[in-house]
């Protein structure tokens, strides 16, 4: 039973993924409204030669803050889970 459900889930998802990939725009010729603006204006607006750095820290700065937060969460989580539990009472 589990096998059947597993195969069903796998085939459904892979069908979506592959057919999505097949219907995509031709490789190498993407539409680029948003990116053209960034490529054209990043030097003037942020002063950064590296356009990716301008996107990472300026245009999409909140994503980077989120990413730093994810790292912080992971470090907190790792240190929380690997903490010394000896002092702990018998509560947990």
């Amino acid at each position: 039973m589990r096998q059947i459900i597993g195969w069903f889930a796998l085939i459904t998802l892979v069908t979506f993924l592959i057919s999505g990939a097949l219907l995509m725009h031709p490789f190498g010729y993407p539409p680029s409204d948003m990116d053209d603006y960034i490529i054209a204006n990043s030097q003037a607006e942020t002063g950064s030669n590296n356009v990716v750095a301008a996107v990472v820290f300026d245009y999409r700065g909140l994503d980077t803050l989120g990413e730093a937060t994810v790292l912080f969460a992971a470090v907190s989580g790792v240190l929380l889970l690997l903490r010394a539990t000896k002092k702990e009472g018998d509560k947990t």
Binding site: Q43, T46, G47, S48, N49, F57, L71, R83, A84
Partner: protein, 153 residues
């Protein structure tokens, strides 16, 4: 702990790894790289030391607590720089046009100038600090746990 050759070589190598990591962090806004990449390079150096010297020796030099403080301060500097722009808008690049990192490079292909980028170099630096501390803390904690030692709380 590995053999003396490995320890000696890694002891010398860590300096170069640190310098290379710092270069990647500080030139993040003009060449490929940035805070995350440079931080990861330095953290890999820490992992190398961990492998060469063993977790108990490293523990004496690199406290989990200190790394955690370092990471928190990196994150706080980052969000602080973002908050500093709130006179206009959160994350506003307020340093463009000021003497600190505020120069605007010639538009189009140019040879690169470190004093550009506004807040981007500062953010790269804080993120680099955060990533090197964070990744080192994760690896150190895992190494200590698997070798059966407890971290100090």
């Amino acid at each position: 702990m590995l053999s003396k050759i490995v320890r000696t070589v890694s002891n010398q190598l860590i300096v170069f790894i640190l310098i290379f990591g710092l270069y990647i962090i500080m030139h993040g806004h003009i060449t490929p790289g940035g805070g995350f990449q440079g931080g990861a390079v330095i953290a890999s150096g820490v992992v190398m030391l961990l492998v060469a010297f063993g977790s108990s020796d490293i523990k004496k030099a690199l406290r989990e607590r200190r790394l955690s403080v370092l990471e928190s301060s990196g994150a706080l500097i980052f969000i602080g720089v973002a908050f500093a722009g709130i006179g206009t808008v959160f994350f506003y690049n307020f340093l463009v046009g000021t003497p600190i990192f505020g120069e605007i490079p010639p538009i189009g292909s140019n040879s690169g100038n470190v004093w550009t980028g506004g807040v981007i170099p500062l953010m790269n630096l804080s993120v680099g600090l955060k990533v090197l501390a964070g990744l080192s803390a994760i690896v150190l904690a895992m190494a200590l746990f698997s070798s059966g030692e407890e971290m100090e709380e």
